[in-house]
């Protein structure tokens, strides 16, 4: 860690991390929140202490929030509205085999 002046502005806070928790083997990691931590090890441990206190998980991913690239909210109409009338893309027009879970 570099020496940092003690002040209340956000530059002196620990960086923000996003937390993804896998609830059980075979399922995917799901975003469940965020937290502040000084480094990756601290982020994992804080995620364990903050987000899996009630046995919510068996595996944790963390990633620095500023490493996430997000779509622009201003692009929402252009990006997502054209899919509205393409219901044929949903796999609802044929029966799924019983053995297929989690579609």
């Amino acid at each position: 860690m570099n020496p940092q002046p003690a002040s209340a502005d956000s530059s002196s806070e620990f960086p923000l991390w996003e937390v993804f928790v896998r609830s059980k083997a075979g399922l995917d990691h799901k975003h469940c929140g965020s937290l502040h931590a000084a480094d990756a090890k601290m982020a994992i441990q804080h995620a364990r202490d903050v987000y899996t206190r009630r046995q919510e998980g068996v595996s944790i991913w963390v990633v620095r929030s500023d490493h996430i690239v997000a779509s622009d909210p201003g692009d929402k109409a252009m990006y997502f509205d054209p899919m509205e009338d393409k219901v044929y893309r949903h796999p609802t027009f044929y029966p799924l085999p019983a053995s297929v879970d989690h579609m």
């Binding site: 860690m1 020496p3 502040h36 480094d39 441990q45 202490d49």
Partner: protein
């Protein structure tokens, strides 16, 4: 005007048997209980929210370990005491925790995160080694408690250890505070490894190890941690000062701690959730 009526209720202090098994197990249970009490004092006051939750989690792990042992001790032949009475209704001299865990979280009424963190690392390393050995105790209940507690202690050691490195290898200020904490708590460490008749008896009956037998492994793990944290190598130089919490003679801080800990059960005898 009515005369006050004095009744003997459950708030009266209890007396515990002084056999080696009871004392050996109470030393462990009380050490967990009193450290849990000190850690819980951080609740709402930790440097950051995430660490606040982490410390409360560790306090609850330690409290759970103490509860399991109290429940077991209270059912031993010739004893009929529930965990609440064992935890809350003894006088100071009947608590057998090491003095180190009863020391306040800081000095002059100011909490010090470096002190708490280093104490957590010292105690988690010690308790991890103790639970490892206790998991093969001749007392099956103790072995079962140890099996569960060992996982918790491993996490406490990792969490506290990484903070010790962050502070020691961090800024000038964090390194200065960590070293001050080391100097303040180190004279209390020797007590952990003092051996007496209680230890001898526990070792002989297979209940658990002499605490002195854990010293070398503990010292080796602390030396690695101190090296990473850029602290001077841990020494256990002979010293005229010896803390004596393990035999029931406590520091001046213990009475205040017990007043906090016992207040509710003394004021509302038998009170439960």
């Amino acid at each position: 005007m009515n005369q006050p009526v004095f009744v003997s209720g459950t708030q009266q202090s209890i007396v515990v048997p002084r056999d080696a098994t009871t004392i050996y197990l109470l030393r462990i249970a009380d050490t967990c209980l009193i450290l849990a009490q000190r850690l819980s004092e951080w609740c709402g006051h930790a440097p950051v929210l995430e660490e606040d939750i982490a410390m409360a989690n560790m306090a609850l792990d330690l409290l759970g370990q103490a509860r399991a042992l109290f429940a077991h001790i209270g059912q031993r032949p010739g004893i009929d005491l529930d965990e609440d009475r064992l935890a809350f209704l003894r006088d100071e001299r009947d608590y057998f925790n090491v003095t180190l865990v009863e020391l306040p979280n800081g000095t002059s009424g100011r909490r010090d995160f470096a002190f708490t963190t280093l104490r957590n690392a010292v105690m988690a390393t010690f308790l991890k080694l103790l639970w490892e050995r206790l998991s093969s105790s001749s007392d099956e209940a103790v072995a079962a408690i140890a099996g569960k507690a060992l996982k918790e202690a491993r996490y406490h050691q990792q969490h506290a250890g990484e903070w010790v490195v962050r502070l020691g290898d961090g800024t000038d200020e964090s390194a200065r505070r960590l070293d001050a904490a080391r100097q303040r708590l180190w004279i209390y460490v020797a007590e952990l490894f003092d051996a007496d008749d209680v230890d001898d008896a526990a070792e002989a009956m297979g209940l658990g190890p002499r605490w002195s037998a854990l010293h070398d492994a503990w010292h080796a793990e602390m030396a690695i941690l101190f090296d990473e944290a850029r602290l001077p190598a841990p020494t256990t130089r002979p010293s005229a000062f010896r803390s004596t919490g393990k035999i029931g003679r406590h520091s001046e801080h213990m009475g205040y701690l017990l007043a906090d800990l016992q207040y509710l059960q003394r004021a509302y005898p038998g009170g439960v959730w």
